[in-house]
Symmetry: C2
Subunit: 329 residues, 2 copies
Amino acid sequence: MKKMINGVESLLEESLNGFAKAHNDIITFNHQPHFINRKQGKEAGKVALVSGGGSGHEPLHTGLVGIGMLDAACPGQIFTSPTPDQMMAAAESVENGGGVLFIVKNYAGDVMNFEIAGEMLDCNHETVLVCDDVSLPKDHSTGRRGVAGTLIVEKIVGAAAEAGANLQECKALGERVNNATASMGVALTSCTVPALGKPTFDLGDNEMEMGVGIHGERGREQMELTKASEIVEHLITAIDEDLKPKKGQKILLHINGFGATPLMELYLMYDLAEQYWQEKGVEVVRSLVGNYTTSLDMAGASITVTLLDDELISLWDAPVHTANLRWGC
Amino acid sequence: MKKMINGVESLLEESLNGFAKAHNDIITFNHQPHFINRKQGKEAGKVALVSGGGSGHEPLHTGLVGIGMLDAACPGQIFTSPTPDQMMAAAESVENGGGVLFIVKNYAGDVMNFEIAGEMLDCNHETVLVCDDVSLPKDHSTGRRGVAGTLIVEKIVGAAAEAGANLQECKALGERVNNATASMGVALTSCTVPALGKPTFDLGDNEMEMGVGIHGERGREQMELTKASEIVEHLITAIDEDLKPKKGQKILLHINGFGATPLMELYLMYDLAEQYWQEKGVEVVRSLVGNYTTSLDMAGASITVTLLDDELISLWDAPVHTANLRWGC
C-alpha cells in the first residue's frame, strides 16, 4: 500500500485539519465530535441541510458544505458510518428555526445512525434517502445504494433551502430528485482502504467490475475489459431502462470519476454518453464531469442522469460556494 | 494497462469532443488543427493569452480557457508538444488588437515550437517561460521544468489581461510570478502512457521518486517511502531554500495531485505544509488543493508556493470562469 499518510489512525483528523485551514473562509471544523459546518449566511428560518457518511468519497460530503448546498456534514472513518452523536451535534449547530433535513445515502449503518440521531433531536427534522444506483434491482432486500446522484440531490435541495423552501418542501423536492436520478458505475481496479492495507477485491488484468458500489462492493458481474464505447453503452442502457426518458426530455449528465481515472477518460465517456442520448432525442442541457463521489484510489467511473424540468434547471444553476463545487458566486 | 478508451489513436479527439460538449457555454473546439478557444467576452485590444503543451495534464491547459484566464490552449498528443501550426491558428483566432502572450512550460519541444509559431505570426507577441520546478538546480543545462506553478502564472496574468494590462505589462507580470513561484513533486507510482501500454518508470513497493517531473521524469533521487510529514518536509525545504520567504511574507500554497492520489491525502499534505510555514512566521493567505496539473494516472503530488503581494492577491481573487477553475462568476 502506497499512501501519503502519517498513520492510519491520524489520517482522517489530519486531512480534515488541512481541509478546514484551506477553506476557513466558508467552513469550520468541529473536532469533538467531528463535523464540518457552514460559516456564512445562515438566515433565520432556513432549513438546515445535514449529510454525512463514511470518509473516502471526497469531495462528497465535506467539500459540499457552504452557500447554496449543505449546512453541515459528518465524516465517519473511512467507509464507516458517522455516529449518531456526530449527526446530532452537527444538526444542533446549524438548526436555525427552519428544521433539519438529513440527506442520507442508503447504507444500513448510515440509515440506522441518522434514525437514532433523529430520535434524539429536539427539533423538526425529516430525512431524504438517496438510492440512485440502478445496478441493483428496485426490489433489492436492502434497497438500492446511494451513490453519485447524492450530490445532485444536495445541490438542488440546497438551492431550494437557500431560496426559502420549508422543511416539507425540501423533503418532497429531495425525493423527487432522487426518483428522477439513476446512476451506475464500473471499476477497473479496486481501491485500497488504508486500515486494510490491501485491495478490497481482486480483478484480473483483463477484468472490470460492472455495477460496482462506491466502497468496492461487487456489482452486477465481472466482465472482460472492453472498449469505452461498450462500457458506456452497458452503463447507460441500465440507466435508460430505469428512467425511460422520452424524446425531448431534458437531462443532467454527470460523469463521476472514482479517484484514479484521468479527466481525459472521463470526458471521453461524456462524449459517448452524450451521443447515446442525442441519438434517442434526449437533450443533455447540463453537465458535470470530474471526481466528485470517489472511492479512495479506485480506477473507474460512474454515469448519473437526472431528468430535469425548468424548476430543477433553475435550482441547479443557482449560485453555490463550497470548497469543491462553486459557481455564480 | 487498464484505461477507459476506445483506442490509443482516437483517445485525444474523443476526449476533446466530450470536453467541448460539456463546456460549450464557454469554449469552442477547433478540430483542424486542434485548439480550444474562449467563446465570450473578448474585448477589443485585450491581450490574448495562449498556452498549450502535451495532453495528459488535464485540466491544464484546456480546462483553464475562459473568462479571466486563457484565451486559447493547444493540446498536443499525450506528453508531446503541440505543433507550431496549432499555436499559430490558436493565436490568430483570439488575437484582437492587443497582441498575443504565449505562456510556455520549459520543455525543449514546447519552447521550440512556440518559437517557430512566433516567428510565423503576423502580430505583436511575447512569451513567458515557466520554470518553477526546483528539483533541478537553477543552472541546469536545459533550465528548470515548468510544472504546477504554470496555473498560477496563467490565473494571475489572465486577470491582468482581463483588466486591461498591455502586452509588455502582461509579460513582465508573468515573469514576476514565475520568479516568485517554486514547486516540487513526489511520485508514489509511475503513470502509464496509453501508447506505451506500460508504466513509464519502475518504483519498488517501498520506493518513491522525489523531485519527479509531470511526465514521470526522474527527479532528485529514489527514496524509501516514508511518512507524509517527512515527504512534505523534504519538498517544502527545497522550496524554502529557493524562495527564502521572510517572516511575515504572504504566500499562496498549492497542493497539486498528479491524478491518482485521493483528496484526503492532498488535504493532509496541505495541513503539514501550512504548519511548516506557520512555524516560520510565513503567512498562507491563499490556497488551492486538488488535481490541476496531472500526470495521467500517477499517484503522488507536488507542492507549489508563490510569494504574494497585494497586487497579486487581488489578481488571484479576480473572477474566473473556465471549465475547471471557477470563482466570482
